[in-house]
Symmetry: D2
Subunit: 402 residues, 4 copies
């Protein structure tokens, strides 16, 4: 339950405060050894709670005001599809996730947000009531555990997000809704502005973008959402939780389609200085809930909190271990490294890749298939060798026709 | 104390086993918010033991057979120089570090190694007896806490490393010694082969390289060490614990001199697939103690353990969350991502940087100053604005004369 | 006068033939030492006719069907502004240019085209009648020398191009009109489609794009022109004469604004294989007059002619010294070079820059000033040191505000 | 015959003058349509003398003091191997080349140099007397046409170069000898220093490097030659005529082995500003005969002459069309382009490639075969499809084993 001394999410945003979100759990815990890339499911809440708790603590210390429950893809239809050997139910996982998030949130000034995201059932063309039933099942846990607010996030189709919002808002808790789309709109081509209007009408108090694109691209898409909402004479708060990867070469489906996804994205990771620019741009665009998604680690979140420290009137506790703009280097052994303890140095630096055999941009895959396409019906089985062969053939043709 | 069921480091190496080292604590904990870049000192053992413990656990789970105590730069001469506000002593920090390392080592098949590294006193031209007294003071804790073996690492001058080995070997525990040099030799130009011979003669049973350069460069330097030792008719075991950053543009002082050090190294981070190549190359070179240093996270260590699984006869426990060569992607939602679940795909991929405004290589700083140079005498005070101005002047001239 | 055996430009285009244009004279002759970058004026027609004649011959041999008179910027208002030490008049220069073009055209199957381009007077807000008088003066020479058709090219503002077309079409000779704009339209934001409609209505039989952008960008802009003309129920022929430089990072003012312009564009030069792709794309878009502008050398034009040899039914005479798709390498000394004598090899090759310290993309200057802005009023004097200082200040601000 | 007012090559070098060489004919004329890549033979002297003459004139105007006869690969054994459809003899071609070179040299302050280069016969293991007979045959023309001095250039094996020098020096004319090797030495591993000593002992008054590597690499190799000659107590003059391509990724066989050779080298072309650095570095190294080879165009040669104008006391005539360090831009229309009319601007600029899908460096082919290897025996026939298949197989293996 919400610490009575703490203000809720809407109170904060209504008061014009900046809310710092947390970073991505799936990618961070994959690197730490607790999440499997491919299924991406959050059994670690049950099997390795100390690892999940530690990551929450890092984000809290970095300045995050929200602890999102680590419940990504924890719907039963996803769990049974994706190699969940332990036969854990969505309920078990989600309960554990809520408990951990609340425990850490209570160690600081943070709210707990329960999250739902897009379902295999929707892509496989299940009906509205079937899809809504899946959200309802996840929601029951969040209500029982009394999270502070709800986030429907990572939706590629605004329709499914609307359904999720409609289910979530029945609880009376504040509802935020994020699509994982870019400025070109959702996978059916609905513009960010129109998407935002539909989400607000469905009951979302906060709308925005998460995942799939780099920070500046996401901010641009949220800007279009804001313009759409304002044009429609509606009101909303805005949030953004982008990737911590540079993705200038993405098409509309985002970083999934980059050849480097998900195991060779390293050269694209944003520096803390990139994060300063992102935080400032998001703030200037009128976004007040500013966080991160895949690729964000604690130091990225801390950079957001440090950039917006003047507006927020406080520094994150993690900054005790970080000099602003590299000032800690004043105590480095080597004098030429001490000479780097300056804002101007880091702001201007264009970091080299150390990879002279690599290009700057990739050609993304681009199949252009979306909801309802036979290729996207979920299997329970892993892909067979024969299927891989077929995929390579299709892919080859797709590249040639580009 | 060493679990009596476990074999010691020399037993393992003598038996021809592959020993997987752990990764770097300083950089990983800096990103997580527990270490300050610049001082780089390990007070977190005392202030945030759960964070240090969690990182140990991740490396253990990734397959590491050694838990190095997180005691980098924990000598009193460094601590008093570098903004240690809490007035913690080296003893307090090192005791806590030993306890944490032992606790986690006992959860698996791992040894505890106590480590010492180069001292400000040496660079400031203190005498042999003064420098040795500093090592002795650190060593007392390691003896009292009964670590399993000792590592003298991160030395730029072979002379100081010899002194460290001479102190460490008085304990009767196995001694490993690593320089942070490349194929060109130490900062006085002593070749890797000659360095290795001197370290072996000083009493080191294991010699090698850590930090400062990327994996392939370090392996090349260890190869030169091995050739030197063999040429001298001596015997040793070999270890390597490189950076997880690509550094083709480094000069002899390593990544410290890169303009990106330490806050913009992201584009240089190695992928897990780069680590496979490194592990294989190290193994083929005859190195049997293979680990990592700055930049290594758990998934990098796991990649080493996975590449050498055939030789080691086991997979790390963390591989329950990782399909070999991306096979977990067989369960990804999108078919074109499933098509990436193949070794050939990841082995051949040249990952793009997503940064078309950045170059591939940087021009490193290169002052060429070393031990005893006035510029390197340690201050207790942070660098003043005036000093920064002077540094920029010197640097400008250094770049021009290149 | 037109060789009576030759078909005129409209006869060819009406018959569906592909007309190959020539390449750029200004940049090629600058490299050869006969044109001064900055003024860019064509006094060489008078002072070094053999150099101009030789370049014409190279383009003819490469397959060009048009010899454009080398009369770029040869208007008296430009000549007096730009350091014309010899006091040559526009008339003298233009007469010599016509004679040389005709001499070489008569050596093969080529037409002579007289060209006019944008004037300093327009940018300085001179009146329509003043600007038209300048075109008329140039035109008198072309009429007297009986060129085969006329090209108004290199206009950034459609209005000035309309004025030029209105003057040129009074001669009864076929008139082509090219803007140097990209898909975003002219400097006042008039779309390519609308520009094309206005040019056709002004009397141009052929419309298109030349200079300022790379081939694929120019083809895209001509495509928009074509769509605009067709939407308006009009008819025209289409031409394109792009740069031979890759310019993905340009803004609306084209390559002038790239930091590399004009003395460091080398890494951007297209290969002959890039030209094959351009020729095919232009053809598929419905463009039938396909040539080049700055950066094009004879081998680039030959590549266009070779790619379209099946459609044209003939190879250029220069192909006697060029095996299709590198087949001449079958006679190279080294066998591994012989292995490159294949279309697949060159089509797929992504050529390295050999410049690991350089980025892929630049940030263009972008002042956004255009016709009538005080900064663009032409001086007769060279820029003073004081003015350069002012420029640097303005530029600094412009970069910061980006 | 040498104009009696002109000083010979040795007089100039003995007097400490800087001699500017000319640029490369083969690549320049290939682009202009007069040389076929693969055979690379110079029939154009006979078939298109005006094209050869024009290129000579451009180099003369750019400041070149030497007109090298365009006689590369014009030995009968090469001509009969390489698709010489016109059945021109080496004698016919070489006579024409001499006449053209003399005609243009007499238009300015230039000497004529006759050149011989490595023979297919040597690679095919013909005897010393057979190879020398080939040189003798070429030489007869040079003697008859009374060239001013002789250059033996483009030798990969010092032995063959020695044979050439021994033949050439029988004429009593000054002899220069250039290898196409890098700092690692000739293809048999003979160091540059040892190569130079052997060439001087064979009778060469001038020794150096041409072709195969970029300017800075060639200067470095000549430096090693100079050190070798001085160490041996001998005396010589030094020359360098490098590529105008950046080749940091070459192995010992030079740019032939780059995947981009010869049809996709464009991104590697040096700018005029790169040439300033090269000229200064060559001069500072003690080299006084400074010119260019493949890739050099007139503006590259002019940049050499402009950089060394203070030492030479004169500017090339071509500089009437070139402001030093871009000063001609003071007269550009756009003010932000006028702001580029400064040395500092161009010296610091790191030009972007405009190719974000391309890497910075390539992996060169590396077969490591050399003189006498069966793969290198010259065929008269072009490579068959079957041979190409075999080559691709061999190449695949070569790449894998790297």
């Amino acid at each position: 339950m919400l610490n009575s001394f703490l203000k809720g999410i809407l109170e904060r945003l209504n008061a014009g405060e900046v809310v710092i979100g947390d970073g991505g759990f799936v990618f961070a815990l994959e690197k730490r050894g607790y999440v499997k890339a491919g299924p991406w499911t959050p059994e670690a809440n049950v099997t390795h709670p100390e690892a999940v708790r530690q990551l929450h603590r890092e984000f809290l210390r970095a300045g995050a005001n929200v602890m999102q429950t680590f419940t990504f893809y924890a719907s039963d239809d996803k769990l049974e599809n994706r190699g969940n050997d332990l036969q854990l139910t969505g309920r078990q996982i989600n309960e554990a996730a809520c408990d951990i998030a609340r425990e850490v949130a209570n160690e600081g000034d943070a709210l707990v947000a329960g999250g739902v995201s897009q379902t295999p059932s929707y892509l496989s063309c299940k009906s509205e009531s079937e899809v809504k039933a899946i959200f309802k099942k996840q929601l029951d846990v969040f209500v029982q555990k009394d999270v502070d607010f709800l986030i429907a996030e990572y939706f590629e189709h605004v329709e499914e997000a609307e359904w999720a919002v409609q289910v979530l808002q029945t609880t009376g808790k504040p509802v935020a809704a994020c699509l994982c789309i870019g400025p070109e709109g959702d996978l059916n081509g609905v513009s960010p502005g129109d998407c935002a209007v539909r989400l607000v009408k469905a009951g979302a108090e906060i709308v925005g973008i998460n995942c799939h694109f780099d920070p500046m691209t996401c901010v641009k898409a949220v800007k279009l959402m804001k313009e759409g909402v304002e044009r429609a004479g509606l009101k909303a708060h805005y949030m953004v939780q982008p990737l911590a990867y540079h993705t200038p070469d993405c098409n509309c489906q985002g970083f999934i389609d980059l050849p480097e996804f998900p195991f060779a994205l390293e050269p694209r990771i944003l520096t803390r200085w990139d994060m300063h620019k992102y935080a400032r741009e998001a703030y200037n665009t009128g976004i007040r809930y500013i966080g991160g998604c895949c690729g964000f680690e604690a130091y990225h979140i801390r950079a957001l909190a440090e950039e917006l420290a003047p507006e927020r009137g406080l520094m994150p506790s993690g900054s005790e271990k970080h000099g602003m703009w590299g000032s800690g280097l004043e105590m480095h052994t080597k004098p030429w490294v001490r000479a780097r303890s300056r804002r101007e140095y880091w702001e201007k630096l264009q970091p080299a890749s150390g990879r002279p055999s690599c290009a700057s941009l990739s050609v993304p895959d681009g199949w252009g298939v979306t909801k309802g396409h036979a290729d996207l019906i979920q299997h329970k089985e892993a892909t067979s060798v024969h299927e891989i062969q077929q995929l390579l053939e299709i892919q080859k043709k797709a590249k040639v026709s580009t």
